[in-house]
Amino acid sequence: MSNGLFASDAVAEALQILQTEIPLALWETLYVTVLATAFAILLGLPLGVLLVTGEKGGIRPLPRGVMHALNIIINLLRSVPFLILMILVFPLTRLIVGTSVGTVASIVPLVIAAFPFVARLVEGSLREMNPNVLEAAQSMGASPFQIVTKVMIPESVPSLISNATIAITTILGYSAMSGIIGGGGLGKIAINYGYYRYKYLVMLIAVVLLIVLVQIFQAVGTRLAVKLDKRLKNKT
């Protein structure tokens, strides 16, 4: 059968699937990825900010116990393999979405897996910030909230965009795995046709499309990060 990868019937079938199933799968992959990333940022950004501002010597130190707890929770969530996490969060998924299988349901484990990762990325971005600039803002009478919203985040935008790109491409990769729990998308096509039915050509097409998506996300993200960075000279 491996010699039949480009056999005429295999090609014909692949073309047919390309027309009938792939457009929907592409759409599902896109919206799952984008939605999951959006929610992950919604949770991860404030958490990442807390990790930086709350530490000892930060602009708004939190009790050590709280910081310890935050770090442990993040590390815990990040150490559970995604495949297992999907199954572990079934009850939560059911609570939120009403069901634990399907495309929409796959967003919940994706967010749970991604938001601690996003928090760490945000933490990294904010730590790149020149501490003297924060001090300058304090010397002008900025409150901790103003420092976060008017200095830390705006000044870190290029780095945050780069890291958002990393996050979205990683989440795209995870979303392909959710085919296992009945999540739709390119991952499902690849598994259903390639793994269960030995239609390797179809699997190949799904994988190529995933690669193309990653390339697009990365190119757009990098370009945006560079374009938004006003530290680079000779630009207007």
């Binding site: 600039v133 009478g141 008017k150 705006p154 290029p158 530290r231």
Partner: protein, 336 residues
């Protein structure tokens, strides 16, 4: 009026307690340019941060216009900081904002309307001489220009006091000079009290009226710049005034008297001053030490002259030199 009384600051480090400042008492009058000079590690930066409470002193008080800053809440302190602004060695501008938006920043923090803030920012750009840089980003500016924007930003909230933390240390001599001129102009025009923290003698000589010498967390000497630099009494002061080495080892005739001449922006002329003095007053001076720089047409720095011939000649020399504009003269008495 700033009153610093018995201020001490210590830090806890893994190697134990470090006493950064010890029992510092200073008072700085309204409208003056006050210099705080010291080597690195002397505690200058900590001291200036205690003045606006970026660092809370361990002991002692800082009183500005009768208000004890140590007793204020965080919220009240933020209000005070609009009156006591600061510029830095590294400029510390927001790199993702245009110059105009950088100047608007403290006004934004204070809750001023956007169009009013921009109007004010434009006026400030005029004051610092960069009206055409409103829409430029800091990265497109030179160091001197960035410091001008930082000064404009510091002036935005119409402060009564400006703290300069090594504000010229990252700049070349000519740029340093122009920034100091701007600071002086601001001091005169707007009546803002200025505190300059520096390790450079030349900066203090050029703009300050009074100076405190800080060493190992303590004020070693304090007073008018001319007096302190003309006859430094403490070891630390002498190290700053004579970085190349001390007086006693300098050569000199026996019985020779010494006078210190401080040039505080005196106009340089075609004929050298000392030569002219010899011709016009018949006083021959032996130059024992000199550290002067001319910036534009003006001379800054100091010179140590040895004059033989007794009291009379010394008096003639002092009178002659004192008649020059922006020259300070002081007889150096033995201080060992």
């Amino acid at each position: 009026m700033i009153e610093i009384q018995h201020l001490s600051k210590s830090f806890q480090t893994s190697d134990g307690t470090v006493e950064a400042l010890r029992d510092i008492s200073l008072s700085i009058a309204d409208g003056e340019i006050y210099g705080i000079i010291g080597m690195s590690g002397a505690g200058k930066s900590t001291l200036v941060r205690c003045i606006n409470m970026l660092e809370r002193p361990t002991e002692g008080t800082v009183t500005i216009d009768g208000r004890d800053l140590g007793s204020l809440s965080d919220r009240e302190l933020r209000q005070v900081r609009r009156n006591v602004t600061m510029i830095f060695q590294g400029f510390n501008l927001l790199m993702q904002r245009t110059c105009l938006k950088n100047i608007c920043f403290p006004l934004e923090l204070a809750g001023m309307q956007k169009d009013k803030a921009e109007q004010r920012a434009k006026e400030l750009l005029e004051i610092v001489g960069l009206p055409d840089k409103a829409n430029a980003y800091p990265a497109q500016l030179s160091g001197g220009q960035q410091q001008r924007i930082a000064i404009a930003r510091a002036l935005a909230t119409e402060p009564k006091m400006l703290l300069c933390d090594e504000a010229t240390s990252a700049l070349d001599p000519n740029t340093t000079h122009s920034i100091l001129q701007l600071i002086r102009e601001i001091n005169v025009r707007l009546g803002i009290t200025v505190i300059i923290i520096t390790h450079q003698m030349s900066v203090v000589e050029e703009v300050c009226s009074r100076v405190a010498i800080l060493d190992d967390g303590q004020v070693m000497e304090e007073g008018p710049v001319g007096t302190v630099f003309a006859s430094p009494r403490s070891e630390a002061a002498r190290r700053l005034v004579f970085p190349e080495g001390e007086l006693p080892e300098l050569p000199g005739e026996p019985g020779e008297r010494r006078i210190r001449v401080v040039f505080n922006g005196a106009l340089a002329t075609g004929t050298p001053l000392i030569a002219r003095m010899a011709i016009e007053r018949q006083v021959a001076a032996n130059i024992l030490f000199a550290s002067t720089r001319s910036i534009g047409e003006k001379v800054y720095g100091s010179m140590l002259l040895g004059i033989s011939g007794g009291e009379e000649k010394v008096q003639i020399a002092k009178d002659y030199l004192q008649n020059m504009k922006d020259v300070l003269v002081q007889e150096v008495t033995e201080h060992e």
